[in-house]
Amino acid sequence: MCFLQLSFLLPLLLSLLLPLTRSTPLILSSPHPTTGISPTTLIIHFSPPPPNASRYTITFNTTTPGTDLQLMRRDLVIPWSESHARIVLNEVYSGHHTIRANIWDDTERIVGHSNELVFYLTTQNPMPLPEYHVPRPMDLITSSFHLSPPQTVLYHYDPFCDPPTPNTLRYLSTLLHLNAKIHIPPVTESHIAIAAYHRERPLQTNPNFTLAQFISELNDGIEAWFPQADVASYEFVTRQTGVAEYELSINPPEVTASPTLYSPSLSPSTRGSPALREQCDGRDGCDGTWQTLQSPHATLHALVPPSSSNRLIILPSVTLPSYPSTSRPWTHLTLPRITSYARHTHSTLLVVTALPGSCEGEFVRAVEGGMKEPMDIQVALRWCSMKEKVRGIKKAVLSGDEGGMGYDAVMVVDDTVLVRSDMADLFNLVGNGVGGMVEGDEVRASLKRSEHASSACITSVETLTLLPPHQPSSLVLFTSARPSPSDQPERVQRVHHQRLSRLLPLALFPLTQTRARRCGRLPSEGWLLKRVATFTVSFAT
């Protein structure tokens, strides 16, 4: 099968390399198979050259992922008079690549150069991996963010090599933000059938997945992931080869100017802590923009962009003045940077600086319980900050009717994070999902062990809402928790059933008292459990 022989699943990106000479964009298109079989061809396009340019060179640096083994380093010399160049890529190009282009003039001087393009080629895996195991998309997208509109990115998308997964659509939407034109090279019905083959799990062909459906799906996906984009036109082009070519032209959304920061009329006393003001005052876009918000849980300081913004960045930075070990002596560096990032991404920045009220109990226990400075106080405080993150997320996405803020997306950033000014707009990447750095195996294993040890707590604590007996409940379903050998599930189940069956017909599953105690709540007699069955819980042995 072709797809098994195909050497590369090409991460698609390609980027405009910006020569020093203005208005002479050097465009790298993504490799794509011209015939649907290996090898893959990298096509390099370039626009009218500067008058004094004679040629350019492209330097490849290829390494094997996870090693420092350098497989190839070579310079390709290409006459500037050529409209494009094709470079055949074979197996040895599998891995991480860096490409840098230099433009030379007739006198052998470098008159321009590009920034470095990083991309990744991997051998096609015949068994599709879960999405989060695909090569890290940001390895590809990173380079595109070196660019800024209105330069053009020409992006070749080949559904044969890269079936239209949600991640693919995110790549596209990200590129659209860069004023990209998407070019889908030869697409045939057979290609689509194979693309569909990859999409299905378990592997099976889907003869009913037609080209039209693919286009429809792609179109829907683009609109879903990047709703501001205006899909202007798309058409098929039949060339002499007889293959269909699909071109999609998309008008990117208008790039608005830097946000006019909302400047509430705040007295100095309401503009956060003196330390915060000191960090903020005089900095670009920061002066006079902090707004103190009322919250039953914590003191919040918000940097508010225009009302059209629907994104929120939460930065928990909680300290306890009485305990020096809880200080955050790096925020004078990290906070201004995340502030700039919030402005760049048109986001509201919410800085949580005071101890959340709900955490006071934790903290008091940490102090009065004989915990030792400095570590335990730090742990207690960290614990509170962590909870504040989750609380903030939930509050942020609730609608105003529910007492929430109604944001469409939330980013949480620790106050220990230092971000570069040109960091990508990560909001653009997540669509309706989530995004973050996926940890490696050792962390997964650690968390897996930990979670397993207390898995029942999540079930009971997080899902049970206790209602007094007189309050009607339309749904009563006891949660499922797999008992440990030391528990007595039959007895416990019987007890709970006796308690609850008197009140409502319900389905009961065992919840052990041991787990309930460990989770801090034990349903007492006469109380109903509501909304427990939102999800099914299963536990590994």
């Binding site: 989750v390 997540v430 309706n432 973050g436 940890e439 968390l447």
Partner: protein, 135 residues
Amino acid sequence: MTDPIVINTGVFVVSKEAAGELFEMWNGLIDMKLYGDQGYVNAMLNRVGSGIAVVDFGYRYNWVGSFENVNRRKVEDISKDEVYAYHATTGLCLGQIESGQVGIETYQMMVGEEALAHRVDWVEGVEREWTEKGL
């Protein structure tokens, strides 16, 4: 049973749709054994979020402290010039106490003022380098 996805929530983006699914049932309590939000977010992600798309930003967008010591090998193929977000986690405070080897047993966690000072030094060093490069 497949390994769970574990996202470091130091830099974490969640859409409204996904947040609703992940946090709808949250009542203000988190089991501390689950490492706070870190564990809760990931537990919910793996338990109820089977339909939620996960985008891996990659290490460049959350370069944690342990990449400077015990987990250095994981990021050897990434140039520091490609890192967009440095995260001064407590993993940074793993001071190597035995040279010549790389392994958890050769490290010791700094605490208190020493740890604070070390994290500050690290952040200041990155800031200085970026400033010099105009980043």
